[in-house]
């Protein structure tokens, strides 16, 4: 069999890439190892719930625009979720879009922090706007304003923890804001906060949105479009080997032994998994291979979905907000060192979303879903995830019960989506967040491109890398082949 391009992985990045290639008139084969498409946004068909990410925060507006997704059925149930921070006193602080309202809310706890918050937001969003081309375009120009450049230079060296410490005095506020930075004690992770602020959902800068039907709705629309456009999709099929001739790609060998020939492969896997596991040995070059072997991530995040038969009354977590449960900023250090030692941390850092508004039908039928994202979990725990997930579930439910009495009695199903390290290269990498898309997408192998979240500046569901990778693949395919 011969196609123009093979896309490995049917996540948002892979789906977007194959759609763009198909629009350019190329024949595309999409391989997905799992039975359902959608990657981080897939749904569990038997339970009829989304199991991966609960929210979307970085979907490329141009993908939505160019693929005309809004007219194909994508509607947003929530355009911007406020951040809810459970305060040690038992109250909950709600930080919405309006910085003045947010400052007023903070003022009830700390006047100094309320003052700082407005300026923090202004600085963060200002730099984010200046850096937006950097994170949005394939070939950005230099960053113009001098103030932004100086600030960028400072943040490149600053950890999110140090940056937040410089602004705020209240530990609970700092810990919650640090959740977005992924690894808040890593130098340069302050830029992760800026990256978050540079994203746009529903035309709102730095917003966190949920489509109607959950993130899985986005995946379903893309799958329907891909099928209609004539992308050949094979689920339950994984690629085991890339076939190379010198440094030029010949095709992909499938699990079944079948060989598919193509000049171009787009992989949604991480750079490490693609170049070390799929490509033949040494195709990445000695230095790159060494670097990739060393940089394996030691922590990851898990998505846990709880199905309840009723939402308990005294629910401490406001609906349609994302509640970040992280008590102290310093706990991130313990979390990180436990992850390095391959152990479950003492304190779980988690984000809880109760999307009541997006699925009224489900709520009407007496079913409620709570989706929990736990960060800073060990990537390769000592006892293995099979044994650890029961303990993790117990810990998550116990932590939630501090806020919501009687939760345990209502749980009907607990679903786990554990850290998948094949999709990620490192926890946080300065060189990755500061490089442009081209070096993140291109590989040493001619015709092999990355299109998944590993090609993004930060791990996220975006589709931006898929769109740009499709453009690069299209340029590669239109070059003449030497006879």
């Amino acid at each position: 069999m011969r196609v123009d391009a093979i896309v490995i992985g049917g996540g948002i990045g892979g789906l977007v890439a194959s759609l763009y290639l198909r629009r350019a008139g190329r024949s595309v084969l999409l391989l997905e190892a799992q039975d359902t498409l959608g990657g981080a946004c897939r749904a569990n068909p038997s339970l009829n719930i989304a199991v991966g990410a609960a929210t979307l925060l970085a979907v490329d507006p141009r993908v939505i625009d160019e693929l005309d997704l809004l007219n194909k059925g994508l509607t947003f149930a929530i355009r911007d979720m406020p951040l809810a921070i459970p305060w040690p006193s038992g109250k909950t602080l709600l930080l919405g879009r309006d910085p003045h309202q947010a400052a007023q809310a903070i003022a009830a706890y700390s006047a100094a922090d309320a003052q700082s918050y407005k300026r923090y937001r202004r600085e963060l969003f200002g730099l984010a706007r200046a850096l937006r081309p950097w994170w949005w375009e394939d070939a950005p120009g230099p960053i113009a304003p001098r103030n932004s450049r100086a600030l960028l230079e400072r943040l490149e060296a600053t950890s999110a923890a140090a940056y937040l410490n410089g602004w705020f005095e209240t530990d609970a506020l700092k810990a919650a804001l640090a959740f977005d930075a992924m690894a808040p004690f890593e130098p340069g992770s302050a830029l992760a906060l800026v990256w978050r602020a540079a994203q746009e959902m529903c035309g709102l800068q730095g917003a966190v949105a949920i489509p109607k039907g959950g993130p899985a709705a986005l995946a379903n629309i893309l799958v329907a479009l891909a099928k209609a456009a004539g992308v050949e999709i094979r689920t339950g099929t994984s690629a085991v080997r890339l076939m190379l001739d010198g440094d030029t790609l010949q095709g992909v060998e499938l699990e079944s032994g079948e060989k598919v020939f193509s000049r171009c492969v787009l992989s949604s896997l991480s750079r490490r998994a693609t170049l070390l596991d799929l490509a033949p040995t040494a195709s990445a070059g000695f230095a790159e291979t060494q670097r990739l072997t060393r940089s394996a991530p030691h922590s990851g995040e898990a998505h846990i979905t709880l199905l309840l038969d009723a939402v308990p009354d005294s629910c401490g977590m406001p609906p349609n907000a994302r509640t970040v449960i992280a008590e102290r900023l310093d706990s991130w250090l313990d979390t990180d060192s436990s992850a390095r030692r391959a152990q479950l941390p003492d304190e779980l850092m988690m984000e809880v979303v109760i999307p009541a508004a997006i699925e009224p039908e489900r709520a009407a039928s007496g079913q409620h879903a709570i989706s929990v994202t736990v960060r800073g979990l060990p990537a390769f725990p000592e006892e293995g995830w099979a044994a650890l997930s029961a303990r993790l579930a117990e810990r998550v439910v116990t932590t939630l019960e501090h806020r919501t009495r009687n939760l345990r009695a209502h749980i009907t199903v607990i679903h786990f989506d554990l850290p998948n390290q094949n999709m990620r290269d490192a926890d946080f990498s300065m060189s990755r967040i500061l490089s442009t898309y081209h070096p993140r997408i291109a590989t040493p192998v001619n015709g092999l491109f990355l299109c998944g979240s590993a090609a993004e500046p930060m791990d996220a569901v975006s589709g931006r890398a898929g769109r740009l990778a499709a453009g690069m693949a299209q340029r590669w395919l239109s070059t003449e082949v030497a006879p």
Binding site: P187, G188, R340
Partner: protein, 467 residues
Amino acid sequence: MRYDAAIIGAGTNGLAAAATLARAGLSVAVFERAERVGGRCAMREFHPGFRASPFCDEIAPIPAAIFRALDLARHGAIFMPPADLAGDRLRAAIQKRIAAHCAYALENAKQPQKHDWLGRSVGLTPWHRDSWSARSLSDVLEEALPDEKSRACALAATLDGRTADPDRGGSALHLLAPRTGSGMTMGGLETVANALQASAQVAGATFSLGLEVTDVRLAKHRATGIRGADGTEVEARAVISTLDLKRTFLALFAWKELPEAVARRTSAFRHAPASARLLLALDAPPDMPEGPVSVPSCSAAQAYAAWRTGTMPDPLPMALRWVSATDPRLAPSGKAVLTVTLGAVPYQLFDGAWANEKRMALRERALAQIEAALPGLSKRVLAAELIMPPDIEDALGVTQGDLDGGEIAPDQMFAQRSFAQCDAGRTPINGLYLGGRSAPAGPLGSCVAGVVAAHAVMSDLAGGRLR
């Protein structure tokens, strides 16, 4: 009389700044709180007949250019070759990087400062990025040193007397902020201070010892002189403070006088005090090699975790050094002086300050651990003196007893140290310069920050900015 420069603190940096300025023909006054010059180079008789320098055995290397320019060898500073701990390749890489940073800092300080119409400095080459800023210490060591043992050795030597998580990105910067490596000096560390002082005095610098500076006088947002604890007021066109950032702005200024940006930066600046010292007087030479000896201890990551939570790691990370073997004048003949540098000692324990019984307990634990490593040693101990971070703070006036002048982290190194917008030790307050370990060039070596600040003063005086 109005001096060209007033220098606060007569440690190696202050003395080097004074010598550089005085040799250039400027009038310089140095103010020191203690009765003697030297700062951390000072020595003390801690038991009759036994002498040691309480804070460190070695200082960071003085760059050769500075050593020559100040003519220190002629004034009596004689260093012995340092003990080789790291592998040759790693050592060469470290020296190359430090030399490049020092050369940049000195060159940049000599450039006249230009300003645009808003008063922002322009036209300076930015401090080049060091790739180690993003790398972890264990990563760099793993790459440079093949065998496990030399890696452990180099890690212990780098974190000697301080603490860091070696797996965290940016911890490799500790290699570029050496605390030792100069080699021991003939006659103890105070000869270095004496040589620096002689170099400055010959050139005409005046010294006021035993006089604590309490205020920097400000007029129209620029420093115009200093006020001493006894009420003396001295006018100067430039003030170089070799105190650390926190001390400089908290002790020498009224908080309300400070521009908001300075106050914020000062309060956000982090310190990581972790070193304690144990001085031992022995009645017979110990049975050990001359160079530093590391006692088996817990891993650096564990030590850091314990330190952060205000507890003592177990076993303690420590390095022993038989200093009187290298320099026999430190002890009476037939006897010996042993110094022990403890790492990961928090400034305060989680349950409160270092009260006397806690110190006693720590001393017993350290001695027991030494006895286990070198059996029979504890019977020879005549006297043992423990110096904790609060003692170092009292003696040297460094915040929390942090001898690095601020935590070594990517956002507190090179151009980002103290004030990102100002270079060469300049501060947002016109006429005030930082010349200590908190200055951008401070961690790179001894005397570097002082000389850099001195050059900045000279170029600003020549450029007419300090009239």
